[in-house]
């Protein structure tokens, strides 16, 4: 690692520097001044790992100081997410996170790790949802901002793009905000997925539900034309092997165009009993509306990524009766307001982030992710990167954020998936929220079993 002077300057100072860069450098060259600010000294600090013999994470290749990012009683975290451009709606996550961290810092005195109390500082970067910008942002967060860990970086591609980087530098990438099965890949111990339900488990819940209620249903699949959509259809196909469930047809749609009209017409011609919508963002309500406009009336299962209030409102009447999964309480459901955790969430968001809408699921997600992070830090035996990551690999928490009461999320040495406890829910149009269908589903440790291997290690 370098400890260049340029890096430790404050941002405005560096900006001014950059503006003067050409002049400055010319002057330096002219003066034949050999000594630059970039220090080429390499400090290979190899850490033994927190749990001695039982270490899950091989730290022998790690370079850098494992306690980087903690100065005095401040622990500095970094996040990167779209805040401008076409995907800036995700920026609301940051409001939920900030509300929680401010609450912890100001009202609880901070987060306690091994008897010491630390204030949390979250440095954020805008990556416009573009993977190469995420790489640039994360490089900057690690090298220039010297963050202790990365937290809740948004997007599957974005997290895949930085997974080698965080591996090489041994920086924890905690609660990556995607439900991709790729976070189960044990070659990448420094990346931990979030509490979103892994996409393959959604299909498991659906297949279980159908096996009990409509065992010989035919299923039509509409999915995004990328890895996200493939996770749904490939898992579904492998799960229905040996059952009487059949696939009636499959169509893909272009995630960047959101238009599903022709695909739905084509699937409607199969007259299948069930439609799986492996779509996201505007693709979800678009599919629901197009089904509503046809004469086809299948039971619809929709991706758990579509549960935001605004998307459901966009679908209007056609959202009625749609099934999906929720790992948290629905903040739009007034019945949940009596829940203590929900009441705290709404109060603190209103207090610290008054511009945010607490009934927006994206804000609630950010709040819960932040709460999980604080829980993880408090369980860590020491304030260093290896210890935190080791803790993340043997982590158990319940009643965190607005996760469902009684639901436990956990990881272990051979189970790297977190969000394996959730409920199947159905949208109720008259009340405008999701109502639970059946009991809490507990699939702890089962994600890898139901997921085609190529989706995890591909």
């Amino acid at each position: 690692m370098r400890n260049s002077g340029g890096r430790s300057l404050s941002r405005p100072a560096r900006r001014r520097l950059r503006a003067l860069a050409a002049l400055l450098v010319l002057a330096l060259v002219a003066a034949a001044c050999g000594g630059g600010d970039r220090d080429d000294e390499t400090t290979d600090t190899t850490s033994g790992g927190g749990n001695g013999d039982e270490a899950i994470i091989d730290t022998s290749n790690c370079t850098g100081d494992t306690a980087t990012g903690i100065e005095g009683n401040v622990i500095k975290l970094g996040t990167s997410l779209p805040q401008s451009g076409l995907y800036s709606a995700f920026a609301e996550i940051l409001r939920g996170e900030s509300a929680y961290f401010e609450y912890v810092n100001e009202e609880l005195g901070g987060v306690e790790i091994a008897g010491e109390t630390y204030q949390i500082e979250l440095v954020n970067r805008d990556d416009e949802y573009q993977a190469e910008q995420t790489v640039a942002a994360v490089t900057e967060l690690i090298n220039d901002e010297s963050v202790f860990a990365l937290f809740n970086v948004v997007g599957t591609k974005n997290n895949l793009a930085i997974r080698d980087l965080v591996n090489d530098q041994c920086v924890p990438n905690l609660f990556a905000a995607t439900g991709s099965p790729a976070w189960g890949n044990t070659d990448y111990p420094w990346t931990l997925g979030t509490a979103l339900v892994p996409y393959p488990l959604e299909m498991k819940a659906l297949v279980d539900y159908l096996s009990a209620n409509d065992p010989d249903a035919s299923i039509a699949v509409l999915r995004a034309n990328d890895d996200f959509g493939a996770a749904y259809s490939e898992t579904l196909k492998s799960l229905i092997e040996g059952t009487d469930l059949t696939i009636a047809g499959e169509e893909t749609y272009n995630v960047e165009l959101f238009d599903t009209k022709s695909q739905i017409t084509s699937l409607a011609a199969t007259n299948a009993d069930v439609l799986v919508v492996g779509a996201t963002l505007i693709g979800c309500p678009d599919a629901l509306i197009n089904v509503g406009a046809s004469s086809w009336e299948p039971m619809i299962y929709m991706s758990g990524t579509c549960t935001s209030k605004t998307l459901m409102e966009a679908a209007g009447d056609d959202a009625d009766g749609v099934f999906t999964v929720l790992p948290t309480l629905d903040p739009a459901n007034p019945a949940n307001d009596s829940n203590e955790a929900m009441a705290l969430y709404k109060e603190k968001v209103a207090q610290y982030q008054s511009e945010a809408d607490p009934t927006n699921g994206i804000v609630a997600y950010g709040w819960t992710a932040a709460a999980l992070l604080v829980e993880l830090l408090e369980q860590s035996p020491a304030a260093d990167r290896v210890a935190v990551m080791e803790t993340a690999r043997a982590f158990e928490a319940s009643d965190v954020g607005i996760l469902r009461p009684g639901a436990t999320v956990s990881t272990s040495a051979d189970d790297w998936f977190l969000g394996e406890t959730f409920s199947l829910v159905q949208y109720n149009l008259a009340d405008q929220f999701f109502a639970d269908v059946g009991d809490l589903i507990e699939e702890d440790g089962n994600t890898a079993e139901y997921t085609p291997e190529s989706l995890i290690n591909g």
Partner: protein, 343 residues
Amino acid sequence: MNTDRFTPRLLMTVVAAVLILAALAYLPQYYGESQTKLYAEAIYIAIAALGLNLLTGYSGQVSIGHGAFYGLGAYGTAILMFDHDWNFFATLPVVAVLTFVVGAAVGFPALRLSGMYLALITLGLATLFPDLVTRFVKGTGGTSLVQPRNRPVPPEWAESFASEPDQWWYYITLAIAVVMLVLLWNLVRGRFGRALLAVRDHEAAATTVGIDAARVKVSAFAISALYAGIAGSCSVLITGLANAGRVEVFQQSIFFLVAVVIGGTATVIGPVVGAFVVVFLDDWAGEVIADKPVLSPAIFGIALILLMYVLPDGLVGGSRRAVAVLRRRFGSRAEPIAPPVPT
């Protein structure tokens, strides 16, 4: 063309070039990884802009789709390195041939189309390319990302100035850019450059003096595609990945075009200057209003418009005008005002 041997003008150009190169060479010694990366980005965008200038500046055709050739180059390099374990340098000739051939095929309609329709066809290219990638490339985690792990490591002899990989990658990119610039310089100062200008200024007239306008235009398109492709290859070296979302490809295309126009069309050095302005302007726009990141594209866009007001003929054109004004005011002693040759 070579009558200007040893003029003060040439001497000044050489001195300036050496100084600028020295400054660029010193940068990664001074800056940390993030800043070095930003400069490297400016350099590879400059490569693409150099080539696009051949098409836009010298040949008068507008393309808003060169992000697709850039993507093609990036994927060519990344896939050869990742799937077939090729050395980075070995991928360059392959990418060059590939993008040249595809460029020629796409450039063929340019024979028949006026500037605006060509712009549209290229816009279509920028729109279609991401779909093709999503459909046919299965990279990391089932996405269309391809991330080679075998980027060149700094050799021992370079230990003294490039002990770390990012410095080494920067120098490789810089070296490639210098080679590409010199090649282009030779090209536009020769017969081909004159033919291009003749075709741009009056195609029908150029044809009557024996210039094969069709061949000149298609060549310009193919060469510009090649430059964009090599820029894409370099981007894999710097960012470590190939990626092509619709927004990214469109944005790259715009960056190249903006670099050409801001720098000054039909000048060799203009697009290089333009590329640096674009990259740092974009970076600045992202930081200037820290609490309202949603506004950063607007700041970038408005800055572009203002730049166009101040310097409608680009930075190079603008500085030439400034020099001309100064000369007129203080009297010109050294030399008569030179005819406008491509510099």
